[in-house]
Amino acid sequence: MSKHEITTIIGLEVHVQLKTKTKLFCSCSAAFGAPPNTQVCPVCLGLPGALPVMNEEAIELAIRAGLAINCSIPPMTKWDRKQYFYPDLPKGYQISQFDLPICADGYLEITDPEDPDSIRHIGIIRAHLEEDAGKSMHDEQTGKSDTRIDLNRCGTPLLEIVSQPDLRSAAEVKEYLTQLKLILTHLDVSDCEMQEGSLRVDANVNLHIRFDGKKIATPIVEVKNMNSFRAVERALEYEIERQYADWEVDGLTIEDNPKTTRGWDDVKERTFVQREKEESADYRYFPDPDLLPIRIPAERVEELRQSLGELPRETFARLQSQHGLKPYDADVIVNQGPAMIAYYERVSELSGDAKRASSWIQQDVMRTLKDRDVSIDDFLVTSVQLGELLKRVSDGQLDNTRARDVFSYLLEKESTVEQAIAALGIEQVDSSEIDALCQALLDANPAVVDDVRGGKVQAVGSLIGQAKKKNPNANPQQVRETLLRLIGK
């Protein structure tokens, strides 16, 4: 796109809703989807005299999340008020964390999209807890009727995770979000569903352009309103192109206009200006006098660290070192989540063939899950069945085609692998039988014999098909070898 050397600079602010039963500072339900204003109390309505009390679970989930993204957990953290006047935040301020966040200074490892064999470290500045605001429903038609306010979401716990501006492309952003979601869903800290708003992404992006031997920075744009991973990727791809094109025309740099806000329009596939100049944000933070500081003993942090178990990135490494999988294959399996990892490991163990297990799961199992829209937990072929089936393939008792027949049978009927094999009439054919079958075919097709002797080895292919028709249990590989042996090649 460009005549100049460009570095793309992207930093992300990700809000995830923590999976607590109740809100951050009151005992109302934090569940999504209830009728409007049925999960509210004096605290979340901001009624005079109501006092917040911290939810211990939210603090634990935040620490678990922080540890999993390699943050340190400072010994003391506190709450601050951030002032806003919006009807969906009835107190007139949001309880957040300003100078002493609960998690600080971490990083996330991602696979470099440019080179699947290398790893990039994306710095994380901080992760802090805060309460969510309610929901405003505007009159979209005329814009004149009153705005309706639902305060159910008001006070639900959010963890805001702020990355360093270390991301260099839309593809890296997608990978970062994928990894983050994988970790947080694995730990059951958050559902991370962008559609439901339990994961929200704002991206700060600009370009560093080499020009006349100098480095020029374009104005920083904060991109909002992205409702899926795909939208994030497309919005950033668009924004990178747009910033370069605009700079070529107007030459504006970060000195002319430090920061603007743009929204992503998913239908028109472009970003549009929301706020031209960042209104000098003046949130007038101050420590919330209603809440006490939190002190987390180092021993408690260690306990929580121990409770994390194996994280997706560690599984990814282990599937390569221990199971000999390629990074790509390990990545596909790990990305499916803990249930699929467990399924794979069982199949791999029982079949004694990690690579066959991986390839069957990526092709046959995952395709079927997608076609039937079911999850691995409800899958009809258990890991024990698939493990047993693949063991037979490895032992040479079944060829891949016949194994697929058994797999399809198990998908339709409840039965053991043994029963399926019997029901399909699959039996091992002994080699004398194969010899006889092949000899008969060669006798009937002298032209093929001549072709093979003349060097066209692939000519036996047509006979393998015929053999399979005469005896479906004949192993194609074995037939091929036998034919060539009998021809004397």
């Binding site: 005992s27 409007p36 509210v40 003391m76 919006y86 429903m137 004149k144 305060l151 500081p293």
Partner: protein, 103 residues
């Protein structure tokens, strides 16, 4: 430190207070005085003093993540100046705290 009339107007805007010019003139010196009073704290040497986060000698007060019944919808809306069958009503507004809060 002395506050200008513009400083006072900006503070008033942030606090959503509507002030007349006369009020701005009257309040300016008063707020300046308050700031001057508080500024005396800057005279103290706080080099080795741990920042204070609360006047209480307590921390770690929290509750278990257990549901307690909320208000009913009728109770929640009971004192609202404007409402419909399930929501609070406010004059048409631009933007929301939720979209701002991702700062």
């Amino acid at each position: 430190m002395s506050l200008t009339a513009d400083d006072v107007r900006r503070l008033a805007l942030l606090a959503r207070l509507e002030l007349t010019d006369e009020e701005v003139d009257a309040i300016g010196p008063q707020v300046t005085k308050i700031l001057g009073f508080v500024e005396q704290l800057a005279l103290l040497d706080t080099e080795d003093v741990e920042p204070m986060t609360t006047a209480l000698d307590l921390d770690n007060r929290w509750r278990a993540d257990e549901l307690v019944p909320s208000l009913t919808n009728e109770q929640a809306l009971q004192n609202a100046p404007a409402k419909d069958d399930s929501c609070f009503l406010v004059p048409p507004v631009l933007g929301t705290a939720a979209s701002k809060s991702s700062h």
